[in-house]
């Protein structure tokens, strides 16, 4: 029989993280109720399935790496080739599926680099304030006032076409968004009570940033990343469409549409399916991002 004087038993995992678990369940419930977000989740789940298992399930894996079978070119969708074949005889279905993996890589790299540049700058701007903040924010504003695709084209234009340069260029267009977001959040957190408390206890600046500010920026960043993934993929596809991104025989959706354009309208499948893939993927990420925002950051607006 437990006694009030007995030391209490070690709290179980459930008890220790009770509040976190409760929050997670609330999130899950809210998310589930949001129809659109569930669709988004479904789409992205399908996308991730293709990314992970794609190479093992595609019927003609060598077609994604540049094998050519000119005799089979431009065949319409059939049992052998669900999405038809392209101008060198590659199976379009295979290339679209492998393209999912490529797109994810592109999206991750772009958002990764943007975060790497943008988040630290944002925190510095928000926390340090003064003229440092002013200058960083002004530079950010300038970058944000150049239409993104044009700036990306200009950068790729001077560096030369290629998927690497395209990703670099898009990252350079994307990072200001993160600066803005993180700076605003840092600003509001700076005057939060627990930060004051930490400072008064003599915590160093670094500690405050890493322990208090950064973790609390995480949720808006996560929301932004999930929205951005779709847009980053769209940007890369746009550059690919213009011929400035991925170069053949790289299986990137935008580049496929660019070549497929020469084969409209008779061989429509070549442009249609990669385009459909882009549309669904971006839609999925957008819906997912919306859903995440509704649960993590309900008062935020686009």
């Amino acid at each position: 029989m437990t006694d009030i004087l007995d030391t209490p038993a070690e709290p179980t995992f459930r008890e220790r993280h009770a509040s976190t678990i409760r929050t997670m369940r609330l999130y899950a419930r809210t998310f589930r109720n949001n129809g659109a977000a569930m669709i988004g989740l479904l789409i992205i789940a399908g996308f991730m399935f293709l990314v992970i298992f794609g190479p093992s399930i595609v019927p003609y894996p060598e077609d994604a790496l540049g094998a050519t079978h000119i005799e089979q070119k431009l065949q319409p969708p059939s049992a052998d080739h669900w999405f038809g074949t392209d101008e060198v005889g590659n199976d379009v279905f295979t290339r679209v599926v492998i393209g999912a993996r490529v797109s994810l890589q592109i999206g991750l790299i772009i958002t990764g680099i943007s975060m790497l540049i943008g988040v630290p700058l944002g925190i510095i701007a928000g926390y340090v304030g003064g003229w440092v903040e002013e200058s960083i924010m002004r530079i950010t504003d300038i970058f944000l006032s150049i239409p993104g695709l044009i700036l990306a084209i200009a950068i790729v234009g001077v560096l030369g076409p290629g998927i690497g340069n395209a990703m670099l260029a898009i990252s350079l267009v994307w990072w200001p968004g993160y600066v803005r977001l993180v700076q605003a959040k840092t600003l509001s957190l700076k005057s939060a009570i627990y930060v004051d408390a930490a400072r008064s206890m003599g915590a160093s600046k670094m500690r405050i940033v890493f322990v208090h500010i950064l973790p609390n920026c995480l949720s808006p960043i996560i929301v932004k990343v999930s929205m951005d993934m779709g847009m980053a993929i769209l940007y890369a596809a746009s550059l690919g469409f213009l011929g400035l991104g991925a170069q053949p025989p790289f299986p990137e959706w935008g580049a496929m549409i660019s070549v497929g354009r020469n084969y409209l309208p008779d061989w429509w499948w070549y442009s249609f399916f990669p385009g459909l893939a882009i549309f669904l993927t971006v839609l999925g990420f957008n819906l997912l991002g919306d859903g995440l925002r509704d649960i993590l950051d309900p008062r935020g607006r686009e």
Partner: protein, 535 residues
């Protein structure tokens, strides 16, 4: 709330419906324009192509689009016609040559006039040839070794004599490309010592069947027919011809189908097959003198290694070349194409043989491969892009990677003009200017370095010597074996992957008449004379 929103909703629907109807009615009333109707009567043919015309000056430059216009605006002493191509009288009605091949006398037709009204006389001939030789650009290379301005003699108003430095059997075969300009008009527009080049870039001083009407650099070039052309209208009944730049081949095809263009020049083999099936479209599939080569830079870091060249040449799948053209191509069996006089089937010309390729690679400086080669091709030319993709696949067994670099034609030519900047492989279609073997052989002479067909920088002194000897020999019995030897030596040295002779693919609407063709013209070069519209 309900009646209010219903009202505003109703208003919105009405507005949309009206707007939609207006837009749709616009669509319905506007039928696709038929290209040859003009607002002020008279029919104009529209030709769509991708190559812009940088200059009209006959002494300065020539390529497919430029020469198309030059041939329409100007005349030459003679003209190529027919298949196989033959030299026909044009401004010259007859000619004779001396026994030793060094003296040629041309009698001019009576009544030939420039657009200015000035007569085309022997003075004009001398002036034009002199101008081209002195500027030393464009077609000058064809005759500059043999003819000096002093050698051109005006015998009388209608007779001109050419005294060559050395006998040149091929002399006549180059003359169709030497256009005759109006000395008075050119002289009136000379600026400083430019010999009139600035003015002749966007203007003309010719006597040809067409006059220049509009020169919209980068967009369109319009010519109007000279109704009282001294040689007659050749069956033509049109007001003029517009050459419109449409860079995307799919847009060219769409223009043809919708009747916005009457003749299109650059369809890919697949697009061509599709339009051939359509109603109202006729197609022309003709053999051409055009050779194709993936030229190696024999002075470059990698391709100076002959074994590597041979390895790549044997790794290439030549059948794919024919498949890319949907069967409308024939593999070359020699550096010379089939219509060239004196062409032989060179034994041992490489074909797809992976084993042999690996053998050669083992003897090269990179027996394991592991290198990246650069392949430069014309941006937008789908067939060349496809060849690159095939090559990437073919080089995998050799462990060699390929980087594909699309460039605009001027940039490609610029890169290929110096051995330091030329790429390892460059895709070049080369149409010789005549059926005489010298026209092709000369592409392998050091004098051709820097030109678009000389990007291999081929350097074999024995071949060079043979080429020069064969030029000055007049007796065909003596020349033929020299050219046979030249062909064998070139194949042995492998300065390029010898490709295929593609058939010319031109698609046009069935009401176009008078479309004539001769294999010596470049791939998208058209002879305007005689084009008309009928039913």
């Amino acid at each position: 709330m309900k009646d209010m929103s219903r009202r505003s909703f109703g208003r919105l629907v009405k507005a949309c419906a009206v707007a939609g109807l207006a837009v749709a009615s616009l669509g319905a009333t506007m039928e696709p324009a038929t290209a040859f109707e003009r607002v002020d009567g008279g029919k104009v043919l529209v030709i769509a192509g991708r190559q812009p015309v940088s200059t009209l000056d006959p002494s300065v430059k020539y390529n497919a689009s430029i020469r198309t216009l030059q041939q329409a605006l100007y005349d030459a002493l003679v003209k190529y016609d027919g298949n196989p191509p033959q030299v026909k009288p044009w401004l010259a009605e007859s000619w004779e040559q001396s026994e030793d091949g060094k003296t040629w006398i041309f009698k001019l037709v009576e009544g030939a006039k420039f657009h200015s009204g000035n007569p085309v006389n022997a003075e004009a001939i001398k002036y034009s040839f002199t101008r081209t030789l002195e500027l030393n650009k464009g077609p000058s290379w064809m005759l500059s070794d043999f003819l000096k301005p002093e050698g051109i003699v005006v015998v009388d108003d209608h007779t001109v004599q050419f005294n060559l430095e050395k006998p040149y059997a091929a002399f006549l075969s180059f003359l169709p490309w030497w256009y005759i300009m109006d000395p008075a008009v050119v002289g009136a527009h000379v600026e400083g010592d430019d010999y009139g080049q600035k003015w002749l870039t966007e203007n003309e001083a010719g006597s040809g069947p067409y006059k220049l009407k509009r020169f919209d650099q980068g967009t369109l070039y319009e010519v109007e027919r000279v109704k009282d052309y001294w040689k007659g209208d050749g069956g033509s009944n049109i007001e003029g011809i517009v050459y419109k730049l449409i860079r995307e081949t799919s847009a060219q095809r769409a223009a043809l189908m919708r009747g916005e263009a009457d003749i299109v020049l650059d369809l890919s083999p697949d697009e061509f097959d599709q339009v051939a099936k359509a109603k109202g479209i006729k197609t022309s599939t003709e053999p051409a003198l055009t050779a194709f080569g993936l030229k190696f830079n024999t002075k470059g870091k990698y391709m100076s290694d002959k074994n590597l060249r041979k390895a790549v040449a044997h790794a290439f799948d030549y059948d794919a070349l024919v498949a890319i053209f949907n069967g409308k191509a024939v593999l070359q069996t020699s550096p010379f194409t089939d219509d060239i006089k004196g062409k032989i089937d060179v034994p041992g010309i490489p074909r797809h043989d992976v084993e042999k390729a690996k053998e050669y690679l083992a003897k090269s400086q990179w027996p394991e491969g592991g290198i990246e080669l650069e392949y430069v091709y014309v941006q937008g030319l789908e067939v060349e892009r496809l060849m690159g993709l095939v090559l990437i696949d073919n080089l995998k067994p050799l462990n060699i990677t390929l980087k594909m670099v699309p460039l605009t034609w001027p940039n490609l030519v610029a890169r290929g003009s110096k051995p330091e900047t030329a790429a390892d492989l460059m895709a070049i279609f080369a149409t010789p200017v005549s059926v005489d073997p010298d026209a092709v052989a000369y592409q392998y002479h050091p004098d051709s370095w820097g030109k678009y067909y000389g990007t291999h920088f081929y350097d074999n002194p024995k071949v060079t010597e043979l080429i020069e000897k064969a030029r000055y020999t007049t007796d065909w019995e003596e020349r033929a074996p020299m050219y046979a030897e030249i062909q064998k030596l070139i194949v042995e040295d492998q300065p390029e992957i010898f490709g295929m002779m593609r058939k010319r693919l031109v698609a046009y609407r069935d009401y176009v008449t008078g479309f004539s063709y001769t294999p010596v013209r470049m791939t998208s070069e058209v002879d305007y004379y005689g084009l008309g519209i009928g039913k």
